[in-house]
């Protein structure tokens, strides 16, 4: 029975009406119901208000269940000075056990590309710290933008683990070329297109897919049921459910 390592759960609080878990005490039983053994989480409230420097709340949250919850934090273009300087930022990430950084180009009104983020991305690449790119926050039925920036970034930093989230349900003609030409890009399962999982696994390997529930935006059951009933081998199913995110976390050096 697959257990899931969920790559995207917002926690602590939201000023936009999202029903985020405020404490691990309430979150852990919910995770058990969904067979989510581990999760990469972020402080939604900090993200919504553009707070890129104080990571204390998400670190405290994860310390209450250190074997289940792993912190991630948002990044901004280094030139803005909103994050600590890149060298210091990476030191903090490694020292505090932060397992990835996140960027919301559309929400943050910035371009995620080498021009804007290059100083930081180069240092993240050295340490294999994964970057989770939330392509959009609007309903996944809509078409996404910024694909060329993603391709340019993936090619400029070919060893940087890039995970593209909330990629949309109808963006296959952008998703598949990126999978084809950028080996360091991985996708979540938001592209719920029929046959997507099997097609990607057959062409580029199951290592290119991760499970991210995007809770509290969507019900995790959609993606988990899809993985559970996919036509993948048992080993590949486990990789998509849990192993690929676990590997990203383990590979940080």
């Amino acid at each position: 029975m697959p257990q899931f390592f969920d790559a995207d759960i917002a926690v602590i609080g939201s000023g936009r009406g999202l029903d985020c878990f405020e404490t691990p005490v309430t979150m852990i039983p919910w995770m058990d119901h969904y067979h989510i053994s581990r999760a990469l989480v972020y402080d939604r409230g900090a993200m919504e208000c553009g707070q890129f420097r104080d990571f204390s709340r998400i670190l405290k949250f994860c310390r209450e269940a250190p074997d289940r919850l792993f912190p991630t934090v948002p990044i901004a273009p280094p030139a803005t000075g909103e994050n600590p300087p890149p060298d210091e930022m990476v030191e903090i990430l490694l020292a505090e056990g932060i397992k990835g950084v996140r960027v919301w180009p559309e929400f943050q009104a910035c371009d995620f590309d080498p021009f804007n983020f290059g100083d930081l991305l180069g240092k993240l690449q050295v340490h294999q710290i994964p970057v989770f790119v939330h392509i959009s926050e609007v309903h996944s039925w809509t078409y996404r933008t910024g694909w060329k920036n993603l391709a340019e970034t993936a090619r400029a930093f070919p060893e940087l683990p890039l995970v593209l989230l909330w990629s949309g349900m109808r963006n296959g003609r952008h998703v598949f070329p990126l999978l084809d030409q950028c080996p360091n890009i991985r996708f979540d399962l938001t592209c719920v297109t029929g046959g997507f999982i099997e097609f990607v696994a057959e062409r580029w390997g199951a290592g290119r897919l991760i499970t991210a529930s995007h809770y509290p935006f969507w019900d995790p059951g959609i993606f988990q049921a899809w993985v559970n009933y996919s036509g993948l081998s048992e080993a590949d199913r486990m990789r998509v459910a849990e192993g690929n995110v676990a590997r990203l976390v383990e590979d940080i050096r």
């Binding site: 297109t193 046959g195 049921a225």
Partner: protein, 272 residues
Amino acid sequence: MKTIYDAVVRGAPLDFTPYIDVHGHFGTWIETAVPAALDAGRLIAEMDRWGCDQVWMTASEPGFGALMRDKNDVVLGLAQTHPDRILPYCTLSSNEPDLCLTEFQRCLEYPRCVGVKMHRYDQPAYTLKSGFIQPVLEILNERRMVYMNHAYLNLADLEWALSRYPDMTFINGHMDYKMMELTGRFSNYYVCTCAAQAPNAMAGAVERARGSEKLLVGSDFNLFCLAFGPGMLAYSSISEEDQRNILGRNAIRILERQPWWSPALLRCTKCP
């Protein structure tokens, strides 16, 4: 007792209770790439893994891509190949209003046509009072068939139609909380759960519909994966009985009104 939740977390076939998806699409799409979009074998294999007895199937780009006739031929061809697993809707369009009746009559030559599906995108506005639909609705009502719309935008005209055509079944193609109240007032009105993706949305749907008897599972399969229907159902907080109603029992109640219906059509369910 086996539960839907226990089966889904294991990826085991839901072959212990009827499973009928009332909202599918088959064909190619101009707006996105669907892998192996015309591969019926892949489609049936996914249904088999789930233990899905049946999908009620409409066209891709429904009503706004290619001629109605051409799109319906794709779905009818699939249904002819898998007659117990795929029940076709006849997809009609307000882009071709003068041809809707004849196209529907052509679809009716297929013995297990479940009814008519219409969408809203990229076609002239219409309501259930529009003239070109009336002869179609009259036949549907006479034959106690199904009319599913992507979304009923004009509530007053929907209520008018529910009263005027009481013997047929109207389905709202997607989850829409504001449409739930009608499920209690009209015996011939159902809501499909397709796109009920918010966390535990099913609990809210059952609460607003005051029961599970007027909800039907749907997923947009094969545009999307089959999980887009039962995925959110299985993990929800509603009871097992409610889940089973939505997953298939309610759809059987609609099918039982057709002369060709037989429990033998539930090809995956071991104990119907």
